[in-house]
Symmetry: D3
Subunit: 163 residues, 6 copies
């Protein structure tokens, strides 16, 4: 079975990486699909996010990094699978995920969304909290892959903190 | 009993319509009150939303469409009822609804809010998700009244998707 | 509009009474319907619960106390209304209430369930917590009507606490 | 990929069946594994539950019905897959499911749990609610497969309702 | 024990004040620390918020008002305590609070976050709802300290409502 | 500040121990108070639970193990502190904890309940799940203190699994 794992990955965290690794062990092929959401202002552009993801999964042979814009269902239709994979963390994620899974099914009945539960230590980890900590020059090295840590430092190196 | 059913209705969905129909069967009179929230940027202006609502409920004799701005409690005070009706869907709605019901009661102890539970198939339906799908030219005809479907198509007809 | 307010009322609390009072102000008639659940072991039998309810609402002219066993939908069908009223408190109640409202609708499409939100100070009040406190001779006089307080004391007067 | 779909199935509902059908379309093989929980008193014994499941899925070639007692992880270890499938419905299910998925992973790191979201109309459907309705001779034919409906009627035919 | 009670306090409500009073009775010293979040546009600036807080707690000898910008953990490190206090209200707060408490602990393992539960009548009270009501000239005198009520009136006195 | 940390501790888990350790670092004195609930059938009696707790905290000088029956508020009143400490894990715990904290405050306004958030990896750990796993001879050595692991093995050594 081939699965598409969509997300913003702005940037990829160790929580995402845990899902990708476990997916790569359990599915034949994993497409990590970066959503290029034109209406949101990301910290990293799609090219940067792709680079960091590629670096982070370079040891996983059956994982490919791609990107898409527009509706996920259209992207899935054009691919050679119908299975979407998502990670579940906190309860407040859950209703959004259900809503999306059901909305996608109503747009294309063939689409199937599978969920994996994040490891407990990643339950409260998100890209947003990583960016918030990094923006104040806090230490995120245990929360993200090495390449992301370096890029976050570079991104924020000229952000002087107010005193 | 006469009830006021307030909301943004930007645009009305089949979920709203289900509540309106059941309200019209159970209450003497139903006022659907469109909130004209000056601080939010709606997709449809109040006139458009009113038109689509009127079209959608034209067979329901005891339903009237109105609009208001400012505090709901002020609007209710000026009306000849004290009963507000709201639909309940997912758990994450629920605390907001409780907060609003209690805040309204603290502003005017006479106001009473009654809730109806959305039909299960509308549990995850919202105006936002309808607009998001329609903006990508996805098919929403089973999610909204016919007049809304047409107006959404018109609204987004010049939105060319990026490729 | 006439409404049926079903529940165990074992015993009635000030939270229930708040709902009953507000219902009596807003609806033409309120039937408080005590569920006689043969499979549960209540503290007070139906006769005692009925007595305490009658005492608690004796000043409310349009409130009647009744009891039923079996399915709520059957009881409602035999009555001259189709509207059920329930109070909503905490989030964990909410899904049960939705489940019941939808199950009842699937058994009889005419049944409509309306919800009222408990006053904030009663959000965490339940018959169970009242009984637990009273069983240890704790003071519940601010949590229940006077007649219930007296009956709880009587019920537990011979419960000597272990030392 | 082969998946194990464990549960009590006392009895199987249309919600379970929806998950089984979608699983059978998306996975190579589906083992429906009935938990024989010695400490609970089921309505149907394992043999009856197995029979009803077999009848309900007889058109699905890649679905097999089995049963197990004891820890799910032990059952999975003895099988030739490591993937467990579970359906997700309401929020209150969600934390239990996460807890179980994480507990199973802590017992055997190879076990992977995948989740599918129930169709919206089955969000509030459960074996318990089906049994409760059937015990009062309510109509559950739209909630369960035909064979289950018949067996429920048979089971409860001598349950005379109190009047 | 000395505790830091951080927040936006834009403006302080009776819910915050309830936490501060109870903290002042139970801890040796309470530092109320106003977050000066440069990326949000507050209604009241830090100086105004500090003034209103000082007025509201002037009878509490062991309460001090301070402000900080940047990461809370950095502020705590520079102080002479490691204990943060937060109030808990609704369920939807809870996951954010857990996320923050765990993120802070991952940044500095010495930091400990303690939580107090808001009084039931303040469960649904927030600075946002107070500002929304006040902006429409609604009455908030039972929701905020006197000095806040006056400052809100002053702030919004030139906000004429649309008719 | 002296705190009372009440619970069933049947048996103590690493999640409880994490709270006790952090409490012992932050408070002057910690009383772990085992609830002797006569109406529940525990796996370990109070003496056994006390022994395992004592063994688990023997290196913590300011931690004392005690037990009580009846209402927590009565136990607290007889002690020389008014502060109760509780751990918070999942959302479904949260409403129970709020309910208890508010009920205790309504019984004795002096009682204050403080909450600490469990470490993320213990979010889904409970005494019940430990007992369930151990009853099937599953491995719980990473979930409980060593002394508990041994006692669980002893307790269940004659529980032969059905085949």
């Amino acid at each position: 079975m081939k699965v598409i794992y969509p997300g913003s990955f702005d940037p990829v965290t160790n929580g995402h990486l845990d899902i990708i690794k476990r997916a790569s062990e359990n599915f034949d092929e994993v497409i990590v699909a970066i959503l290029d959401n034109k209406s949101k202002k990301p910290l990293f552009n799609v090219k940067e996010r792709k680079y960091m993801l590629k670096e982070s999964v370079k040891d996983l042979d059956n994982v490919e990094i791609d990107s898409f814009s527009g509706l996920l269902v259209e992207y899935v239709k054009k691919s050679d699978t119908n299975v979407v994979l998502r990670g579940l963390r906190v309860v407040s994620d859950y209703e959004n995920e259900m809503r999306n899974a059901l909305a996608n099914k109503s747009l294309d009945n063939n689409i199937e969304t599978l969920f994996m539960v994040s490891k407990a230590e990643y339950t409260f980890l998100s890209s947003s909290i990583v960016k918030e900590i990094a923006s104040f020059h806090g230490n995120v090295e245990e929360l993200v892959p090495k390449v992301v840590n370096e890029n976050l430092k570079e991104k924020y190196k000229n952000t002087y903190l107010e005193d």
